[in-house]
């Protein structure tokens, strides 16, 4: 039986109240109910099972520590999701900096798409139907996603995989709606650049936004 949104919120409210009243085990109900959702987000963002599990644990630890601040929030699920997204951004940025320090300057990654990903993708591609089942496509989709900046990756996954609203994304990115919208757009644009030939080669080479 699927729980309704209202009953989940009601159940969460009771668990939160009892946790705040000093019943630590009441928090278990929240962890058990929402862990899988956070895991899916974390896995999509990291592409790594171990990292995803670490993010889930950290998100709930932080949620527990900040639970008093939950008072003005409507939805625990959204709140802990945002905590996980924030933590993942910080973690990815930190790792990127560490990686950059270790790598030679010539191989250094930047936030901008200065490399030409199209060069890395073969021209002759099989049909879209076959591609969607292809292990190779998955790998390239994964690589493309990982090549986005942390903010772009979070924004893209939240918007196009989890269906979050722009306001929600803005809150996770700690920015405003306009910036969040631009980040989503930039992410889609980069992914298209990297992956579009895989789905179907353009019939004619033409610049979009121009006369045909």
């Amino acid at each position: 039986m699927n729980e309704s949104v209202e009953s989940v919120r009601a159940a969460d409210a009771i668990a939160i109240e009892r946790t705040l009243a000093g019943d630590r085990d009441a928090f278990r109900v929240l962890v058990e109910r929402h862990s899988a959702t956070i895991f899916r987000l974390a896995y999509r963002l990291t592409g790594n099972h171990h990292d995803a599990e670490e993010i889930v644990q950290e998100a709930f630890l932080r949620a527990y520590q900040k639970l008093e601040q939950f008072a003005s929030q409507a939805n625990f699920a959204t709140w802990v999701y945002r905590i996980a997204a924030n933590y993942t951004i910080d973690r990815m940025r930190q790792r990127k900096q560490e990686d950059a320090r270790r790598q030679a300057p010539s191989a250094e990654m930047t936030d901008d798409v200065e490399q030409d990903p199209l060069r890395q993708i073969p021209d002759a591609m099989p049909s879209p139907e076959r591609l969607t089942q292809s292990v190779e496509l998955r790998r390239q989709m994964e690589n493309a996603l990982q090549s986005l900046t942390p903010a772009e990756r979070i924004a893209f996954v939240m918007r196009h995989c989890d269906g979050c609203g722009i306001e929600e994304i803005a809150a996770a990115l700690k920015s405003n709606s306009s910036a969040a919208k631009n980040t989503v757009f930039r992410a889609v644009h980069k992914l298209r650049q990297m992956l579009e030939p895989q789905f179907a080669p353009r019939a004619t080479a033409r610049a979009m936004g121009t006369e045909s």
Binding site: M1, E6, S7, V8, R9, A10, A11, A13, I14, A15, R18, L20, A21, G22, D23, R24, R28, V29, V31, E32, R33, H34, S35, R40, Y43, R44, H49, E53, F60, L61, Y64, E68, A71, S72, Q73, A74, P128, T132, L137, M141, E142, L145, F156, H160, C161, V184, F185, V188, L191, R192, F199, A200, R202, A203, R206, M208, G209, T210, E211, S212
Partner: protein, 266 residues
């Protein structure tokens, strides 16, 4: 003909309303833009369908086992944060207000929530939240009890009954059951608390049973359900909760249990 820019196309796919009619008209008449849109949609669909490994049914429990030792008991005056006026007025949504009022209501009966035409007192909000949560909980509990009632020995030897699925769900239900029973007691709703107390004992039996039980163990569990008339009480309480949710009024504190007892004797 001027093609849509990539930004316009992405915005269009994302449901952007500004200039949508013009964009729709263009896409319908332009094969190239239609093809571009299809490619974009295909790419996004592929990401949505991107496989994410299933962490397993007991994943939440494993996470809890990992983090529980690292959680300190909360002993602060947590309720003070709910009494700050800015917190009580910040959220605009009824859902948020209901939640805030629920959390604040324990220490302040003065909290009122505008809910449509009616203003609910903190006590009423707390009651509604409890009814919502318990109603759902009883539905899931009833399903587990029903499955146990209908289970049969299986396998070539017919010597074991597999209750592993019911055991796992009973474990989950047990934690929630305890929270709702305690909250019902706090609210003075002994009708709900009594049934939840009886349910908790059976859930405990099931949760602590092995995945495969012997016919004797199975008989003992089922006997407990039958002796207490638990399935019946759960159904009656579910109906009672539905009635109270529909009327939006709180009945006498003992009405639930009195009705259960009365029906049980009938």
């Amino acid at each position: 003909m001027r093609h849509l820019s990539e930004e316009q196309l992405i915005a269009y796919q994302d449901g952007e309303s500004s200039g949508r009619d013009v964009a729709t008209a263009h896409i319908n008449s332009c094969a190239e833009c239609q093809a571009e849109l299809n490619r974009l949609v295909e790419m996004l669909a592929a990401y949505q369908a991107f496989p994410v490994p299933d962490p397993g049914e007991d994943y939440g429990r494993r996470v809890w086992q990992q983090i529980a030792p690292r959680l300190a008991e909360k002993r602060s005056h947590w309720w003070q944060v709910f009494l700050e006026p800015r917190r009580l007025t910040a959220a605009g949504l009824v859902a948020a207000l209901l939640l805030v009022a629920f959390l604040a209501g324990r220490v302040s009966k003065r909290v009122r929530v505008d809910h449509g035409d009616a203003a609910l007192t903190a006590e009423q909000v707390r009651q509604r939240v409890l009814l919502l949560a318990v109603g759902e909980h009883l539905g899931r509990s009833e399903m587990v009890l029903m499955e146990i009632a209908n289970a049969e020995p299986e396998g070539a030897t017919m010597k074991q009954v597999n209750l592993s699925s019911q055991r796992r769900r009973a474990e989950e239900l047990l934690d929630e059951n305890r929270l709702y029973r305690q909250t019902a007691l706090q609210e003075g709703d002994t009708g709900i608390a009594t049934v939840l107390d009886e349910l908790e004992r059976v859930l405990l039996d099931v949760a602590h049973s092995p995945g495969n039980v012997t016919p004797a163990q199975f008989k003992s569990i089922r006997q407990r359900i039958d002796d207490d008339g638990l399935l019946f009480k759960v159904r009656v309480l579910t109906k009672e909760i539905e009635r109270r949710e529909n009327t939006g009024k709180r009945g006498p504190a003992e009405s639930g249990s009195a009705k259960v007892e009365r029906n049980n004797q009938a």
